[in-house]
């Protein structure tokens, strides 16, 4: 396919006639809108998009996208999508999953898809709660969180989805926020440009069962203190007046420093999203758990030198064909010792 013959697509082309049935005020609306806005800009024919999901509020996503769509079963979207990708690597496959879908029941598939580097874009809608089952704690809920299934507080320590993805050696890992539309669209475009597995954690508000889960990052008066926006090639600066930064310590760890008094941006860590090794990105992903540190958003890691799984599979097939010739069924059936009865 050539871009020359591409029809001009608009956001409307990606909307379906199905009534969207998320709760009013749900963060999913913003994510849907961002995706519908970005898809027409990717230079990909509509029929080549496949949106795959599992189960949960967010997994209704495919029904609202006028593309090919597969609403599968709880947690299995990455496996279904992997099958689609192997069968037809030309397709542009996006997966929508919630935090329980991707990290609880489907955790296994998520990490294996990432370590294989299947060319799939994953949108992880993280609202830190079970929505569709009405309010139990999720694998990203905070320690001691009170929910319907933990009236005395959750005994579980949460996953950090970005750390998990980087730990699985995902080649593209990013984080954005439902209400930061411009940032979200920008992040989606970065993901779309990545050939291998792209994992985007989208912090999303469930205004019914976990309202305000991300308010410390999204409310106007506090967010600049708590959010560090990652930009490749730029120093790690945050704060209302961009007066704080992240500096390397002698032991390799990082610390928060106040700029001024002899400390300038030149002393800070300069973000390198394209580093081939995941350890730096992992260090970044963990800072939000430390007192006084901000929560980074943006692209943690975008290293695209690893071949896609579906290409490895396809190339291997071609390699065997060129080595042994295309399969001859009569020969296959007659392999090994044979004899004739007359």
């Amino acid at each position: 396919m050539t871009t020359a013959t591409l029809p001009q697509l608009t956001k409307k082309d990606f909307q379906t006639d199905q009534e969207v049935r998320w709760c009013p005020g749900c963060g999913d609306y913003a994510i849907l809108s961002a995706v519908q806005s970005v898809f027409p800009e990717l230079g990909i024919r509509r029929e080549n998009f496949v949106v795959v999901s599992g189960i949960g509020c967010s997994s209704r996503f495919p029904y609202y996208m006028n593309t090919y769509g597969f609403h599968s079963i709880h947690g299995r979207a990455p496996a279904v999508a992997t099958g689609v990708k192997i069968a037809n690597p030309e397709l542009e496959v996006w997966v929508a999953m919630g935090d329980s879908d991707a990290l609880a029941i489907g955790g296994n598939h998520t990490i294996h898809m990432l370590r294989r580097n299947v060319g799939i874009k994953v949108l992880l809608f993280n609202n830190r709660i079970y929505g569709l089952t009405k309010g139990q704690y999720s694998p990203t809920s905070e320690f001691h969180k009170m929910t319907k299934s933990t009236p005395y507080g959750s005994p579980d320590r949460p996953f950090n989805p970005v750390s998990l993805a980087i730990g699985s050696e995902a080649t593209f890992v990013a984080r954005s926020v439902d209400v930061f539309q411009a940032h979200l669209k920008d992040t989606l475009k970065h993901a779309a440009a990545h050939k291998g597995s792209a994992f985007i954690e989208i912090l999303q508000n469930c205004n019914i069962f976990n309202d305000g889960a991300w308010f410390s990052l999204t409310e106007k008066d506090v967010r600049s203190e708590h959010v560090l926006q990652l930009e490749h090639g730029k120093p790690l600066v945050f704060g209302k007046n961009r007066e704080k930064g992240i500096r390397r310590k002698a032991d390799g760890d990082i610390e928060v420093v106040q700029l001024g008094n002899g400390i300038t941006e030149n002393d800070l860590v300069v973000h390198d999203a394209h580093h081939p090794r995941p350890s730096y990105a992992f260090l970044l992903s963990h800072m939000e758990h430390r007192p006084g540190f901000p929560t980074p958003i943006g692209v943690f890691r975008a290293w695209d030198d690893l071949p896609r799984y579906e290409d490895v599979m396809k190339d291997q097939l071609q390699e065997v064909i060129s080595k042994r010739g295309p399969g001859d069924l009569n020969k296959l059936l007659r392999a090994g010792d044979i004899w004739e009865v007359k």
Binding site: A87, L91, H109, L317, G336
Partner: protein, 678 residues
């Protein structure tokens, strides 16, 4: 050989009633149970062509002092420690006699542990072969010759040896410490407990070492060749050439010349030892069997399934996609198919059983012929995804190579206890067609048939095999690829009037609209949907309508499967109904009982859901109905429920196939025949 390919021969074809499936009815040899472990020549080689030596009869006749006796059949069992190479030894003997032209049936029996402690009872591995100049249906009840490599192997197996049977033992392994491992205090070689057998104690270890000493390899490596010394002896005993095994050793150890030489020497030494010592006064000759003319090879059930699916993919013009997670006894299908990449086969070793099937569902959605292979425990894990395949109505073949259960159960032993799981093991109303292979070679045809139904009806189809068929092998008449009909596949292309659930009036199949097709963008999923549009729909009447449509679609498959004909008496006192791998022993038992004058018919079912249209009518033609199964009575339960027939079961749940004698005893009991006819 039973069930010859030509339908005109007799009325005993298992399930080939009417004309419908030319390829299945005419080409499938429908041969009955034979069994063998992994074939040594099993690796896919594109050598092709007729094998060099058609005759493998030993060129040097035994010396004049030994007598050569021509006999019709023999049952031989190799038994030793799981590290003794008994499966290879048995497979080699099998290959040699099959190449020579005998009909065969084998029964490999090995422990689940890779290496249980050496010399102990749990570590005993056995391989039984029944070979004959006549038809063979089972691996045989009692054995004529036993090769026992240690006391544990002797202890476990000697009970099956016929009186006056040949017993070759490795006398080097009967030291006190060996006996202790087998929990024996006195050597059976000395206490006269073996007096009723023809015992041949042979110092296998010492003599193998003597033959290989000059090679300069260590003692352990030399001892590993002693199974081939024993094999050489057996070739001499049964007047078989060592050539096919020599060839195999040559290929197998092509990159290890020293080991090649060692194994060849051991084989030769065993053969020469018999020649020189005249150990046996009598040797045996079993002439070739009269098989239907054609080109033959040995095939195991798992190999046949793999080849069947490759053939189905080629005949439908699709890529084959296998999503699988290793599990005994199904893994060999994954191993086989992973070699066939030049046939456009994708094999995806998934992270678990669930990903294995869901990836296959994804691949099917994107246009592959998608399959997944597993055994009972994996089948349990795939349950939810099976429901998804039912709801999304996509083609998929699921192979369950059954083993003993519940839970992990008996991983290497055979059982038929997943039938009800296959029929009903899903939440809610989720019917799926179920087919079961009768013999290792039949696995090829079942794979083709399951693929055909899946693609034609846009539906998941379950194939049942079991450990006995999977590892077993039989001489298989190789079909001509040109004679196998194409499997037509139609993808939706036209956006005009396209609806994802608009149905074909005859099959009720919905269109297969592949992602990438312009104008056909649509959504499918596990939520209940409106017929036609496929839109999510929770209306009460729509749900009932959809449940009934999905059931009707499975029921419609009956129009596409042949009626069945009972083998033996078309009506009479007793009908024996079977499915799956018990076909062989039941055929043999029915044949023997009829020879004694009993009026018995045998109905074998390859289609379990839907059942062939005339089963109910056939059940009525007999006074009594018996359903022998290697489970607690699962087909029995189905037949009683569906046809209100007062059938009874014969149930064996020991991880082993039926013996012919067990079956005949039950027939006699039901027919009121007194006494022991045997």
């Amino acid at each position: 050989m039973l069930f010859p390919p030509s339908m005109s021969h007799c009325g005993i074809l298992i399930s080939v009633g009417s004309r419908r499936f030319a390829y299945e009815a005419i080409l499938s040899p429908h041969r009955l149970i034979l069994n063998r472990a992994t074939l040594p020549g099993g690796e896919f080689k594109e050598s092709g062509g007729l094998s060099q030596e058609m005759s493998t009869l030993a060129e040097v006749p035994p010396t004049s002092k030994t007598k050569r006796e021509v006999i019709e059949r023999a049952v031989i069992r190799f038994a030793g420690d799981s590290g003794d190479g008994m499966q290879i030894t048995g497979s080699q003997f099998t290959n040699t006699v099959a190449l020579y032209g005998n009909d065969i049936a084998t029964f490999p029996d090995y422990p689940a542990e890779i290496r249980a402690p050496a010399g102990t009872i749990p570590g005993v591995s056995g391989f039984q072969l029944h070979f004959s100049s006549n038809e063979v249906f089972t691996p045989g009840d009692a054995i004529d010759a036993l090769i026992a490599m240690n006391p544990a192997a002797l202890k476990v197996n000697v009970g099956d040896l016929k009186a006056n049977g040949i017993l070759i033992v490795n006398s080097d392994s009967f030291k006190e410490s060996d006996l202790r491992k087998a929990q024996m205090t006195v050597s059976p070689l000395e206490d006269h407990s073996l007096d009723k057998y023809r015992v041949f104690p042979v110092e296998l270890q010492r003599m193998t070492r003597a033959a290989l000493q000059h090679l300069g390899i260590d003692a352990k490596a030399m001892d590993r060749c002693k199974n081939f010394f024993a094999l050489g002896m057996c070739y001499w005993l049964y007047n078989r050439s060592t050539d096919p095994t020599m060839r195999w050793i040559g290929e197998k150890f092509a990159k290890k010349p020293l080991l090649m030489e060692a194994n060849k020497l051991a084989l030769k030494a065993g053969y020469s030892y018999c020649e020189a010592t005249e150990a046996f006064q009598i040797t045996y000759e079993i002439p070739p069997a009269q098989l239907t003319p054609g080109l033959y090879r040995n095939v195991s059930g798992n190999q046949a399934l793999a080849m069947g699916f490759v053939t189905a993919a080629q005949k439908s013009g699709l890529h084959l996609f296998l999503g699988s997670y290793p599990i005994t006894p199904a893994s060999d299908i994954l191993h086989e198919l992973s070699q066939y990449k030049n046939f456009g086969v994708f094999t995806f070793q998934a992270e678990d059983e669930i990903a294995a099937i869901t990836s296959a569902i994804g691949a099917s959605y994107a246009g592959s012929l998608a399959i997944t292979t597993t055994s009972g425990p994996g089948m349990a894990l795939k349950t939810e995804a099976l429901g998804l395949a039912v709801a999304t109505e996509i083609p998929l073949v699921i192979c369950d190579i059954q083993r003993g259960g519940p839970s992990t159960g008996l991983p290497t032993k055979t059982e038929q206890a997943d039938l009800l799981q296959a029929l009903f093991g899903r939440n809610s109303e989720a019917p799926i067609p179920v087919l079961a292979a009768a013999t290792p070679g039949d696995c090829f045809w079942i794979a083709l048939e399951a693929s055909r139904i899946a693609l034609k009806y846009m539906i998941p189809v379950i194939v049942l095999s079991d450990g006995y068929l999977a590892n077993g092998a039989e001489p298989w008449r190789i079909p001509k690829v040109e004679d196998i009909p194409a499997i037509p596949v139609k993808f939706a292309k036209d956006p005009v009037g396209f609806l994802p659930y608009r149905r074909d009036p005859q099959t009720l199949a919905r269109p297969w609209a592949l992602p990438g097709t312009p104008g056909l963008e649509h959504r499918i999923g596990g939520l209940e949907k409106q017929d036609g549009t496929g839109n999510v729909n929770y209306e009460p009447l729509n749900h009932e309508n959809m449940v009934r449509i999905r059931a009707a679609k499975v029921a419609a498959v009956v129009q596409d499967i042949p009626n069945v004909l009972p083998e033996g008496d078309p009506s009479g006192d007793l009908l024996v109904v079977s499915w799956g791998s018990t076909a062989g022993s039941i055929t043999a038992a029915v044949k023997a009982a009829r020879a004694r004058g009993c009026r018995i018919g045998h109905l074998h079912l390859r289609y379990l859901n839907p059942l062939p249209g005339n089963v109910g009518e056939i059940l009525k033609r007999y006074k009594k109905v018996l359903v022998p199964e290697l489970n607690m009575g699962q087909l029995l339960w189905v037949l009683r429920a569906k046809y209100l027939v007062d059938a009874v079961g014969l149930n064996k749940i020991q991880g082993r196939p039926f013996k012919q004698a067990e079956l005949e005893q039950k027939f006699d009991e039901m027919l009121g025949i007194q006494g022991n006819h045997r």
